[in-house]
Structures are given as C-alpha cells and as structure tokens.
Subunit: 365 residues, 4 copies
C-alpha cells in the first residue's frame, strides 16, 4: 500500500451509485455533509444518464462532474479527491473497492463491505484487517444510545454479559407481496449467493452490533433459514440463529423480511449479571435499563450517568428533540473522517476484521 | 374409571397445599370462588399445623375442616366433595392425583400436571388423554386476549402462521442472588430432575400457549440450557429452544430466571402471511395487531372485531378497567367447571394430551 | 347515633341494587368476598323480579334471601346483617343510606356517596364527617400504585407538589352515538341535576385522588362544561377545570365521555420540586417516576424503594402477574372492614368530609 | 416593498447569531443545507470574535466571510445574498429584521418572529401579513406526522374537532436549579417582558400547532401563570391556559420549564366527533389514532391511508428508520425556499398573521 495523499478539509469525495433512484443515496449525501467533514464533488450516481443528471441536480453536483461509469469517474477524479464512496448493490462493491485501491484512494462503502467470504479474503490480501483506508458504514452503531450501551458494558456496569437477544424483523417482502408490489424489490436482492441476501442486508448489522457493544467472538452457530414469501422462488427471508460466543455468551438472533408488524424492528437486549440494557431502533434515543435488583430506568440522552450520549457531538440540538437515523449515519461518517486523519482506526470505526467475521458467520448460517 | 358422582352447585372442593405461606394458594382460593362455580370446604393447606390453621382462618375454612395430611383430608372428605385441588410442589402432584383417583374424585392441579414423562405415562394408563376428570390449570390461556388471538388465528384472519416468537424472561434468581436472598427460593425448585425445574415452571406455559393459540404439533427441538446464576450448583435457569412444528411453523422460545429487567416478561408474537398478533402478559388487555399491509392496531377488550374479549364473562367490569392474572385464573376455573358438568373437555380446557406433549418436549430440551 | 352491633366475621352484608344487569354489581360481589372480609347473605339486587332471581343464582344467594324492595330487604335483615351495600343509581343513595341508618346499620355505598350538596348537608346532620359507619368506595385509591404515590408525596420524596395534571377521558357517549347505541346508556345518567352526571361519575374520582395523594384543599375553581354528544339534549359530557388548591397547588382537570381514543384514560401526574410521579389507570401496576435531575424510572410493585406496593396484601400473586381493577376495589373493601372493626377511619378510608368536598367542588364546576 | 432580487439556486444566505455557542445554530446550519436549498455563505455568528471564528471553522464558512456585527455583515453581503437568517435572542429579532428589510433582503427568523405585539404591529406596517419575504420557522409543524394530522383534520376524517389538549412540559429550569446549574440558562431568558419568556419559547409553538392542524381562531383566554423555580425572581415558568376558539373548540394548554419527567414533552391530542389523533414529539414518527368506535391504530409513515408522511420528501430513508427534529426543521426550510421562489406562501409556511395572533394570545396569557 502506497502512502495516501494528504486529506483536504473537508475531505473531498466522489460517489459511485447512490442516485436519487436508490434507497440509500440521500442518506449518504446528507450524512457526509452534516458535520462539514466531507464534500461531495463528483459522482457516477447512476449508469442511467437521466437518473445521474437528476441526482446531480438534487445533490448540487455540477453537470460537468457527473460521469457515465465508475471507471470514468475514478479516472477523472483520482488526482483530486480523497475518497470514493460506494453506494451500489452489494455484489459490485468488490470491483469498485479494488478500482479505488488501484488509484491509491480511500474507500467508504455502504455496508456490507463485500458479498462473499472469498471477496473478503481477496481484499485482505491487499490491505490489512485493521487498515484505515477501506471503511464500511455500520450505521446502527452510530446511534449515540448504542455507544452508551457499549461504554456501560465495557465499564462492567451490568456485570458479565451472558445473553444477547437481537432481532431485526421487517415486513417489506410480505407487505409488498400482499399488495402485488413485489416489482418494487430491487432485482439484485432477489437472488441468493454464497450468503443469502437477507443475511447481507440484516444479519451483518446484528453481528456488528454484538461485536460493537459486547466484543465477544462467535464460536458456533445453529441456524434455520426459510423462504416464506417466495417473492423469488426459494429466496431466504426468515432466519433464526442461536450463536455461541466466547465467554459463555449466547446470542439469539432473529431476522427477516416476512414479518408483518415491523417496518424495521431492530432491537438489541443485553443481559448481564448486574443489569441489563435494551435498545429499540425505532425509538432510538432511549435505553431501557435494569439494575441488579431488577429496577427499571429509562435512560435518555442526558440521564445523569450517561456520559456518551451527553457529548456535544450527539447534541446537535438539545435533549428532548429526537435525533434519528441520518444523524447516526453522520456520526459514523465523522468517525471515519477522524480515522482517515489519524491514519488509524478508532473505537467507533469497525475494522475489516469485523466485516470479515460478519461475512463468515453469515455464510455459516 | 367409575362413573363420577353428580356435582354440587357450586362444585365442592378440598385443597391440598396452597396455604398462605405458598406462592399460589391465594390465587386458587380467589379464582375458584370468583364466579361462584366452586366452594372450598376443607383443606390440608400445609403440613405445618400453624400455617394450616392460619390458612383456614384467612380462607374462611372452619378449623374442623383442616387436616394434617393429604391422606387424612381425602379420607375425610371423599364422600362429600366433588374435586380435589392440588397446589403442592410439582414433585408431589402424581402421588396426590392417584390418591384422588383412588377415591373416584375429580382433580384440579396447579400446572404443570406432573414432573416427568414417566409419571405422565403412568397416569395415562389410568385415564384417557381426553378425560374430563383430571385438569391442570394453564392459567395464561385464561386471559381473554389470548383467547381472542386463538379465535383470530383459527379464523384465518392472519393467514398461515409460520413463526411464533415466545419468551418468558424472569429476574427472580439473579435478583435474589444479587441481594443475598436466595434462601427465598423454595427448596424443591433447586434440584433439577428428568426435566429442569425452569422448564416445568416456564416452558410448559410457552408450550401450552403455542398449542392453544396455533394448534400445531412439535416435531423437532434444538435447545441450549445453561446454569447462569448457580443459586444451586448447575441449576438450569436460562434456556433457548428453536422448535420445528408441523405446517412449517418455527417457534423460537426463550425463558429463564436470570434475566434482570423482567419480573415475568411473558410475551407471544404470532406471525402469519396476512397479519400478526402480539401479546404481553404484563399489559394483558391489549393485543398489538398488524394487517397484511403492516398497519398496526391496538386491540382492546371491545375493539370492534374482537368478539371473544367482548363477551360478558370477561367483562366483570366494563372495558377501560383492567382485569389481571387472577381473573384469567378464574376464567380457567370456570371452564373446568363447565367441562366437569358436561363430562367432556371444551375449547378452553386443555387435555392431558397437551400436558403430556409439553412434558415430553420439556424433557427433550 | 346508637352504638352499632358487634360485627360478624366475615362481616355480613345485604346488597341493594348491583344486580347482574347493572354495571357494577359483579365488582362489588367479587371484591367483598375476595379477602373473605365480607359475606353477602341477602339482597334486593333489582326491583325486576327476574333480574333479582338471576342475580341471586349468579351470586349464590338463596332464593329466600331475595327481596322485592330495599325496604323489605332491610326490614328483613336488619337484625342479622352488619352492613348494607348500596349499588343503585346515584340519585337513590340518600334514601337508602337514611333507611339503613334508621335501622342502625352500617353502610357501604358505591361512589359517589350522594348526588347533591343538599343531600350531603342533610346526612352530615345525622353523622359526623369522620364517622366510621357510612362509607363510599373511592375505588381508584385502592390501587396499590396510587397508595405508593401517596406515601412518596407524604414522605417529601418529590419535594413540594405544585402541579397536578389529572384527566379521565372516556369515549362511551361518542362511541355509542356513532354506533346508534345510545339506548345502552342508563336513563338516570341522561339528566343533569344540581351536579352534572359526568361530574358525579368522573370528577369525584379526580377530586378524591388529589385529596388522597396530595392532601391539599381546593380554594377556587374555573371550569368549562360543554354538551358535545347531546345523547340527551344539553347533557354535559366534556369538562375542563383549573382549580387552585392550598399551598400554591394548581390542579388541571379534564374529563368527559365524548373523547374517542380512551375507554377510561384516567391518569394522574404529580409534579414536585424534587421529582414527579405519574400513573395511568389502564396500566395500573406501574408508576413513571422522575428524580430531581429528570432521570426517569419505571416503578413496579417490588421496586426497591416501593414499600407500599410490596406489602403482602397487594401481592395476592407475585409481581409480574398484573392485578387490576377488581383487586383495587377489594383493597378498599378490606380497608372498610378494618375501619368498621376499629370503629374509626384509617389512612385509606376517605371520610365523608372528602365526599362532601368533592360534591361541593362538583357543584361549583 | 421593492421587488426582491431573483434568487440564486441554492438560495444564498448569511446568518446573524447561531454560533457554535448558541443552542440553535447547528440546527439551522444543517437544516438549511440538508436538501440543498440554501447555501450559507457568510455570517456574524457571534459578536465574540473567538466564537465567531470557531463557528466559521465548524460551518465551513471562510474567515473572510465572517463579520464582527450584524450591521457590517448586512452591509457587506446585501448585494450578493438572497436572505438573512436570524438566530439571535428573541429581543433582537425586530432590529435585524428591519435592517434586512432596509437592504431589500428576505428574512428567515428563528421563532418567535418577534418579542412583543408592538414590534409585530410595527412590522405589519411595513410588510403585509401574508408576505413571502419575512419567515419564521415554526419547526414543529415541519414534522411529517403533524402534517398528516393537518390533512386528516381538514379532510374531515375525524369529524368536527371540539377539543385539543396540548402540552409542552419541560424540566430545564427545575433540573438546573436542583443541580445548582442555573448559570447555564441564557441571560436573555431570565427577564420577562410584555410577554413572558416561557410563552415566547413554548406557547407560540402550541398556538401555531393548533392553528396549523385545526385552523380555528382563538376568541377568549383564561390563564394561570406562575413562578415556580424562581431561577430569576418571579420569572414565569409554569402556565395553564384554557382557550376558547371558534366553532366551539376548547384548547387546554399547559406548558412550562419546571416539570421534572419531561425534557420536552410536547404533545398534541385532537378530538373530533368521528375520531382522534394524538402525537408526541419525543416519538415523532407515530400518530395514535382512534376511529368513531374508539378502535385504536398506530399510524407510521407508510400506513396505508397516510398520504402525506409517505411522500418522497419525508422519506429521505425508508420507513422504519426514524427521522427527527432536524429533518422537521429542514422540511420547513424547504417550504420557505418554495415560498420564496413562488413569491407567495404555501400550505406549510405560516403567515406573519399567525405569528401576530400567537403573540397577541401570548400577551393575553
């Protein structure tokens, strides 16, 4: 790996994918500028010229900085930008990461970083697991309350963690099927590869949250994967996994896209010998905590003993005014900016090793 | 089995166990009289004379109807009572059931009916699985909202059920341990037999709820049982089980007594292809429902399409005035009274077959 | 007032009204026997012979203990019962109370005790305000959590109370009107007297809760009463009142029967200089508390510092198994039993002075 | 009023106040750029040179575009910017608005627009009430769920609205006092003028929400204002107001800063003859709705009949990923951009008439 060029301030980026027709483009665009750490200067937001142009208009990127392909984009901007943001379908991440590395650029990828364990091994031959050049955005770990949970677990305030219940039920495939709208599902999500799409979409989040909050290492997995909606024949959309981790931790994980009643019911419940911490993504500012006698507390951003959530960076406006998903995303972007400047990972930027572990576990499910 | 004697009205019962020093005695005593279906006329509430006497005083049972042992009680009352209520530690149920049957009496037992599969097989040699003589109180199925869920599932209103998430986390052992109060745990709960105590205490409820609401049959179980608190060395107190049922149903069950944050977090979530139903025992009047587009409704007792919860028998006082656990218990008692009078089981009195299935599954965990 | 006769154990009562066709009869019948403090031995449950007979059947009162009128009942039972329970329409309470007093009997009345201030003054000429002969059941104060709130306020744990928000929104009149079912409203509720029916039904509860929990004295009231549903022309069914109490307490009270979204949304929120306590009747086991830094706690029955709710009398079954409205009612009945035996009021039996204050305030609204 | 200059795209703005040391500066800075409608090009973020410089650094505004006073800023930028954003203490708004108008600039002011009725009358002499030049950000009306409520009310789906319960309890003054941290309260909030600070801070929000959602006109107000914390002697911090509106609507409003248990418990409950809608700012994506039979629904962003919340502009990321306060703020900024381009107000930009009404009502309280 050559030395990377010094960073601009704000960090200049070009984006591949993430057009206005994509699910996640707007989120990247807003999150990267929120704290003025990044500046989007060019893009190939879509290979469809019309979408690309419209994205440029909405993202305030001049026409002459729009490119018809990722290759042309990188060729054109390699000398001036600091990093490439990849927000394309998962299956294409590997290709664009390598292309960016070829040009000695930093990379920020929508999660999951890669689609298979093989891709991951190939990349790890090129960059070390703890590199500060290739980042994936584990966005849910950007929520301040999740970081407060991490601090509390690490400090021992809930004792030894022996159990994590984690779930990410979603209704999208069942709902769309019931409404005859399955055409709205992106084509690349309708074919499972080495790893099922639903695991790439959802399980890598669950894995990273457990890794982030608790730090234990997975050791053995039992899983039940099923195709319930059959929006594509045999497409996995409902999974249970019971995973044995180091230090006698059991993680009971459930996720899928066939479950009516939840848009995105991501929830993590961490149980220790002296207390517990529960968090629900759809109401993300609050932690339900219990102490060693089972007394329950609702921790908000400025609860007396919550030192992380009270930090100025998480209080863009004062407590009582909810912050949400995009701010969590922006928090993670800011951590990446910090890691890029420091040229090493920090407590909040998960390493490629974590991404690799998540993919390996996903493949085992 | 001889013909049983005609029933009094109210049905006359004598109770074994269930003294004022027990956990569950007061509940039986109140529930059986609530709807004037049963009358408690005698008892051996405790083999401790003082507790027995005090129980008689509090339950309004005359001194001369208190007996020092179950044997003496049954001998004395067999000619006059209709049924024996058993509210003793689980391990003694079999003995007293047989004793009652020897006297040609009906039996109502606190759940679980029996402690082992062997006991169950022995009893099934004596009475058929669908007998209306020996009853166990599956109290949580007595909640009106649970019965409404059953009706809705049976009517097909949520389509085909493919997943049940069920959990019963409790904090008692961890809380007591943290407070140096483990002496408060009954001795008979501190030694696991063929079936762990925690499964006898909790899993049989989860099993019966799934059976009651969905009706599917278990086919294969994977389970992880652990001793976390070690209030007694090696005592199981934390269990995950993933159970494959008939008709492609997966039940993810979690229960235990080591989990701070829940006194008794019994929760069942039933997911079908056209909707879902969720119920939480600690707020038992409400059902969280979702329709086939994922729209959410909160169903209370008199929600327009809730025909079961709106029945007069569940509206001892009008909606908006919460009913609780004891009323659920009383509902089950009333169903038993009905079954006794009809001399056959009804939709709400679970058969000994269900009890046997629950024990077999518990033993497999 | 003559000396009252010694009490039986259990206390023997006869009931006027409260038949199976009434709203509240079943509640009285269950609550009085729940803790074996009272025994219902006779009644005129309805002047309709059929309802009276059916009530006797359901309440397990023999046919020969059923009477066609309150007068005949009292005449027949005065020598043997200890108390009369009155569960008739409000407008008839005065008449039956006086009748019972004429026979030197104790009285337990459904709330409100009386329908007008005049009736109240007349009764106070006959018995002192702090008498232990005539009781009204302020049932919501029987909830253990409400009693825990009282203890905490009295102990100063939330500092000086300066504000109470109290509300009792109900949907019944609007819902019935929208369903063309207004005929289901009892006739006696459809005509306002000196005090509007909605205040007799609801406000007296709000008043008694504030009196019970905080103890302050009302000083001035501003109120807005409106007829919204017009289920009867001009019938008041929606009221706001802002009431100035002693010690700089303001009570903002809202109640009515025209509000869709609530079956019985009784809620009280008490704000002090060092904390707050909030309680919602539809989830009655929990108190939402805040400390002097605004940290929030959810207090359940056995929260470490909750000494009242943890008492054995409120734990008929262990925490985690919700108790409800009827148990609250039974708690109040037990307190009345205690007061009758002690021949003086206790901390939980509100005096006729409180009833009088509530009626006076209602009349001022 | 002269014709305004044509707008740049994005609209160029300079900001007065709103430095990194202020409460609300970051929110404006993020909200205005979120949808690329505005570009912040210059500022006098603070008269303190150090804060001004640090704000420039964080907001990515070059040093040479920072000015030491509002006057110097406007003088310097009047020829190039489209609008001035005012985020200073309320008492200075009038001065800066007039200054901007003197330079024929558009104005976006933090709410409330002005501090007194007199200031408002003076400004209305200069611009008409429905002008599209001077805007105030009624940020809570920017929440999509509030807009969905407005649509539903206007469509008649809940019938005739007869009651609004609205509240905005906050704990800040009491909490800070209890922690001896009252120094953290801005000095300009510690002295009441014609209108109490707490009304300027909170009531104008409540007023605008009622105006926005229901549209009725206030007719008579009764209010109780009190000084509870006395963080400054006699400073009003706890208010009840019962307000009679047109069309038989009563609004019961409660707000203050002395109430432990709420960071910012803004809640609005709208009751009509065919249903109700409830919204709680601390969980802003959901509406609790009830239909004409009192059935309850939880409406999220993509509930089947929610047409407003489902619009692409409110779905920067898909449902199930909560959006929060800053996005609501950004929504309002986008509406202002639209109104500026259209040169007339739209359904979501409240007129100066509304601001004037809110101030008049505040002064009457």
């Amino acid at each position: 790996m050559n030395a990377l060029k010094p960073l601009h301030k704000p960090i200049k980026v070009a984006m591949i994918g993430g057009g206005v027709n994509s699910a996640v483009g707007r989120v990247h665009e807003i999150a990267m500028k929120m704290d003025n750490e990044f500046e989007l200067v060019a893009g190939c937001f879509s290979r469809n010229a019309e979408f690309n142009a419209e994205s440029g208009r909405q993202y305030n990127v001049p026409k002459n900085r729009l490119y018809p392909s990722a290759e042309k984009l990188i060729e054109a901007v390699a000398h001036e930008v600091d990093a490439i943001v990849i927000a394309t379908p998962i299956q294409s991440h590997a290709q664009y990461i390598h292309l960016a590395l070829d040009h000695n650029l930093r990379v920020i990828s929508d999660k999951p970083l890669l689609a298979t364990v093989n891709e991951c091994n190939a990349l790890l031959k090129r960059v070390p697991a703890d590199n500060a050049q290739v980042f994936s955005i584990f966005n849910y770990t950007g929520y301040p309350a999740v970081r407060e949970m991490k601090r509390r677990v690490e400090s021992g305030s809930i004792g030894t963690v022996f159990k994590v219940m984690v779930e990410m039920p979603q209704d999208s495939y069942m709902r769309l099927k019931n409404q005859n709208k399955t055409h709205a599902i992106q084509a690349w999500r309708l074919e499972d590869g080495d790893i099922s799409c639903v695991s790439l979409d959802l399980f890598v989040h669950l894995h990273s949250l457990v890794n982030f909050v608790c730090g234990n290492t997975p050791q053995a997995v039992n899983a039940w994967s099923r195709a319930i909606t059959n929006v594509a024949p045999g497409l996995i959309d409902e999974v249970d996994a019971v995973i044995r981790y180091s230090d006698n931790l059991i993680v009971n994980a459930w996720y899928g896209k066939a479950v009516l009643g939840y848009r995105n019911g991501l929830r993590i419940r961490v149980f220790g010998t002296k207390g517990s911490l529960q968090w629900h993504q759809e109401n993300p500012e609050l932690i339900d905590a219990a102490d060693d006698a089972g007394n329950r507390m609702i921790l908000d951003r400025i609860a007396t003993e919550s030192t992380i959530t009270a930090l100025p960076r998480y209080n863009r406006f004062k407590a009582g005014h909810p912050s949400g998903f995009i701010e969590a995303f922006a928090n993670y972007y800011a951590d990446i900016a910090q890691a890029m400047r420091d040229e090493k990972l920090n407590a909040y930027t998960l390493s490629m090793g974590v991404a690799a572990e998540g993919l390996a576990l996903s493949q085992a499910i």
